[in-house]
Each structure stands twice: as C-alpha cells, then as structure tokens.
C-alpha cells in the first residue's frame, strides 16, 4: 500500500508541484474572496456547529471558521515561504563567501554561526519575539535569526568542495572576478542541495510561525492566522471543538503536501 502510494507519487512529481502551486495561488486568491467576512463580529449565531451554511461552523464571535481559515492561509503560507527564501538566500550567500575565501572571514562568520546554532531554536525565537513584542514581522525576525545557520553551513561545505574543481581554477586563470566565480560558477553547482533543504523547511517554518502565534507572540488576535486560531479555539474545546480542529486539520494537510513535494524534489535532484 505504502509502496504503491510511493511509486504513484514517484511518477507524479508534477502532480505535487501543481498541488503546491495551487495551494499558494488559492491561499492568495481565497484570502480576498471568503464566503463570509473573516473579521466581522456578530451578535447572533455564536459557536454554531459545522453545517451547510458554515462548513467549519462559527467561532465565539460568530465569525465563519472556514472564512477565517482561508484568510489565515495567506498569512501562514506566504509568510513561511518568504521566511524560507530570505533565510536561504542570506545563509547561502554567507556560506559561499566563507567557503570560497576561507581564512579570517571564514573563522569569524563560522564562530558567529556556531553561537546561533548553540541556542535551541524555539527558545531563542520565543525570547526575541516576546521581547520585541507581538506582530508577524517580529515573529519572522525571531525565526529568521535561528534558521539561516543551516543554509550557511551547507553552502560553506559544498563550496569548499567545488572550489578545488578544475573549472574554478580555469575561471580564475581566465581572469574572472571572485564574485563572478562564486555566484556564476560555483553557486549553480551547489544550488540543488540548498533548494531541497529549503523545500523541506517550508513546513518547519510554518510550524515555527504558527507556534509563536499559538503562544501569543505572532499575529495579533483579531487577525486570522492558523496558530492564533488554534490557540483561541483551545478555550472552546469542550463546546466547540471545530474552532481549533478545523485550522489544525487544514494546516496539517498543507504541511503534508509541502513535505511530500520536498521529498520528491530531493529524490529527483539527488539522482
């Protein structure tokens, strides 16, 4: 069963790719075209169970949970993709520079990297987000600080291998500048590993942002975001479990799709 499942998806990389693109596009579009207003407070119809009118029910302020899940998808998905892109770019650039030049720059930057690696990620993120105060931007900073390190390590070790290849020496002899060699000749050769790591980390970033929001350090309360919705729903677990379970289910589903895509990408690029 699992193998069939695996084999089916092994052939269908493009299917997963389409699913990922579809999720991103949908989160963009549906965020603006929700069946109900995700923020409008109502006096009647509080905590209605899921039904035809409200597929995921309503919350403690009478807001449609489906609309809020859709509105939250834009925040959750887009911000985690932006976060991964930023930390991957920053980490890669630093790693390539360290690996290529070596020497003092390498020692200093890698010691800084060691220091950030020494902190357990979530602890530092909670401390930074908490001290900076809530808000999506501060939460993104907090997770960025702890997530760029792995890309820097990876890019550095890969660059050190590539640096000794004949084509790099040839490029040097033909008078290419260091920047040119680093980003035109070396980077294309190491980028696939980094892309795979980044793809696998989208769901990790999503968990991080939602986790901070769940603790109250991320997105501010009236704004819809999956982590904060689950946190609000926790209070009504007894009477209205759909408030927490609907965003949780959607979030897990989206993360599974992203993980499947990441694994597929790894199989293809590693081969």
């Amino acid at each position: 069963m699992y193998n069939n499942f695996n084999r089916k998806f092994a052939k269908d990389f493009w299917l997963l790719f389409a699913a990922v693109i579809l999720i991103i596009v949908l989160s963009f579009i549906c965020g603006s075209f929700t069946p109900y207003d995700p923020h409008a407070l109502k006096t009647g119809g509080l905590l209605e169970p899921p039904g035809i009118k409200h597929i995921f029910g309503t919350d403690d302020h009478g807001r449609d949970v489906l609309s809020r899940v859709l509105a939250g998808s834009r925040t959750s998905i887009l911000s985690s993709i932006i976060l991964v892109l930023l930390s991957c770019t920053f980490g890669t650039a630093l790693g390539v520079i360290c690996g290529y030049f070596g020497g003092l720059i390498d020692i200093i930057l890698m010691r800084i990297n060691d220091i950030f690696l020494a902190f357990p990620g979530m602890i530092l993120a909670v401390a930074i987000a908490g001290l900076l105060g809530g808000g999506l931007f501060n939460a993104l900073i907090a997770i960025f600080v702890t997530s760029w390190t792995q890309y820097a390590r990876l890019a550095r070790s890969q660059t050190m291998v590539q640096k000794e290849e004949a084509f790099v020496h040839a490029a040097k002899l033909s008078g290419c500048s260091d920047i040119n060699i680093m980003f035109v000749h070396i980077l294309p050769n190491i980028i696939s590993t980094l892309i795979v790591t980044a793809a696998m980390n989208v769901s990790v970033a999503m968990m991080g942002i939602a986790g901070l929001s769940f603790l109250g350090f991320g997105v501010k309360i009236p704004h819809a975001e999956w982590g904060s919705m689950i946190s609000e729903g926790k209070k009504y677990l007894q009477t209205a479990p759909w408030m927490a379970l609907a965003p949780a289910g959607v979030m897990v589903f989206v993360m599974i799709i992203f993980n499947l895509f990441g694994e597929k990408l790894r199989d293809i690029l590693a081969a």
Partner: protein
C-alpha cells in the same frame, strides 16, 4: 583522545562568550526602559528622580560594555540577579522549575526510544510489506504535526471525549502522561523513519549474510550487531532532540498548564522580567551545549573508529 576533548572544551570558550553576549543583548533589543519596568513591577510610581536613582542602582548609566562585563562577572560567580517581579533570585527560580521540565523531557525521551527502536527495526525487517506501509504513512503524517496540534488533539480525545484524564492537571503522574506523549509522538515519527533507514542500510551489508550463513540467531544479529551499529546515528539525533525538547516544553507546558521552565519563560516575557528571561535563555543553552558535548564524546565509545571529534 583526552587532548582532543580538551581542545574541544577550549573551542567552546568563544562560543560561550558569544552566547552570553547575545543573552545580554536581548535586553537591548527590547523596547522600554528596564528601570521603569522594575519600578512599575515594584508598585512605585516611576517619577523622574526615582527613575534616575534606579538607573544608577542598576548600573544602567554606565557604558554598554561596562554593563556587559559587570553582568558577566556576576553570572560567573553564580549570581544571575533577581527577578523584577518578585525579587527572588533568578537562580532559585530556575532550579525550582527545572525538575518538572526535566522529568517531562526524560519521560518523553524514554517513550520515544521505546516506540521507535522496535518499530524502526521491525519495519526495516519487513520492508515493502503492509506493516511497513502503514507505519510509514503514520510516521510521515506525524512529521507534519506541530506539537501544539498534537497536544490539542490529545487533550480533546482523552480529556474531553473519553474523560480518562482530568482537564486540570493533577500534578502527579497522571498529569504527566499527555504532555510526555505529545512530545513523544512528534519525535518518534522522525526517529522511526531514521532508524528504519539506518537499519535497512545495515541489513543490506554483506556481513549480515555472513552471520546468517554461520547460523547466528536472528535475535543476536539484530541486537548485537545491527542495533550496535546504528547507535551512533541514534545518539546524534537524540542529542539534537534535546534542543527541540527544551523548546517544545514551552508550548506543551502552556497547553497542559504545567509548571516548569517553559511556563516560567512565558510568564517572564509577559511581565518583561528581563533578568529571568536572560537567565532562562542562558541556562537552557548551556544545558543544550553540554548535551551536545557529551554526545560527541560518546561517539568514540560506540564507534572507536571515530577518534577525530
């Protein structure tokens, strides 16, 4: 080997200094004036003169690096300062909260090991069969589960639906079950996959056929050879897990209202209790680093080939 361990310890010093510097800088990242926070927390009206007095008393009028060195020297003497909120010693608060968190983390780790080693090796032995397929699917889903979703789901199922475990935790062993399981479920999914991969790799090596042809029992092959050889990998991921375990306790303790390091961290941030936040970050990081050091050293014990730690 001892020289290498010593070198490794020396190499820790710059990292330690960096960690202490970042922990100290956390206060400078924060908006607001620590003197004002402290006065307000003590219930004193922060008038201009009171503020000025407090700033001198706290050493905030001195240059940045002087403040850092003063702070560092008192930390080295074991004095992490006093909490703004209740004037207790930061060290005492941390030591008081530590046992609960450690017990929770340790039980989560034990549950994880007990679930994932047998399942990982079992699926490796029965590769491609239905059991492997089902467990593979479950662990793949488990990786996509953030611990706060697992926690909420367990709370919903066992406390609200089945009413097996009281919602408000009793503090005893019963209150420990759900938090420990929450942490264990998210970790074991990763472990099962990695143990399975390592065991599959190990089982395909020629020496296994050699052992089998010599009539060594399957049990001995598994436990005396395969398990021993995947131990290095297992120790590596265990060491890494300690970090996520310490971070995970923040979320899990807040869901299940358990006392511990995580709850202290959240309340300290809520109250802008800077010395306590600093102390907690510093301590958790030190514990994490120590665990990683022990992990690295233990490699040589399980695999004498690795001498270059």
């Amino acid at each position: 080997m001892y020289r290498k361990i010593c070198r490794r310890l020396l190499y820790f010093i710059p990292v330690l200094i960096g960690i202490s510097f970042i922990s100290f800088c956390l206060i400078y990242l924060a908006p607001g004036d620590p003197a004002e926070v402290r006065l307000t927390a003590a219930g004193v009206n922060p008038s201009a003169s009171a503020l000025a007095d407090m700033r001198v008393k706290m050493g905030l009028d001195r240059p940045f690096f002087m403040q850092y060195f003063n702070w560092l020297s008192s930390v080295l003497r074991g004095d992490m300062g006093r909490s703004y909120a209740n004037d207790m010693k930061v060290m005492d608060i941390i030591l008081g909260a530590l046992p609960s968190t450690l017990v929770m983390a340790a039980s989560a780790m034990i549950i994880t090991i007990c679930i994932s080693i047998p399942l990982g090796i079992y699926t490796a032995l029965h590769r491609g069969k239905n059991v492997d397929a089902v467990i593979g699917c479950i662990s793949f889903t488990g990786i996509a589960l953030p611990n706060f979703i697992v926690g909420i789901a367990l709370l919903y199922i066992f406390s609200y639906r089945l009413k097996l475990i009281p919602i408000l935790n009793s503090g005893g062993i019963k209150g420990m079950i759900l938090p420990a399981c929450t942490l264990a479920i998210t970790m074991s999914s990763k472990y099962i996959r990695q143990i399975r991969a390592a065991a599959v790799d190990e089982l395909s090596k020629p020496y296994i056929s050699g052992l089998r042809s010599r009539g060594i029992s399957e049990f001995d092959i598994l436990f005396k050879n395969v398990l021993k050889n995947i131990m290095v990998m297992l120790i590596t991921i265990t060491g890494i897990s300690i970090g996520s375990l310490l971070g995970g306790t923040v979320v899990v303790e807040s869901i299940f209202n358990r006392p511990g390091i995580g709850t202290k961290m959240l309340s300290a941030i809520g109250a802008r209790d800077y010395p306590l936040i600093q102390g907690l970050v510093l301590w958790i990081t030190l514990v994490f680093m120590l665990v990683n050091l022990i992990t690295d050293i233990s490699y040589t014990w399980f695999n004498p080939k690795i001498r270059n730690i």
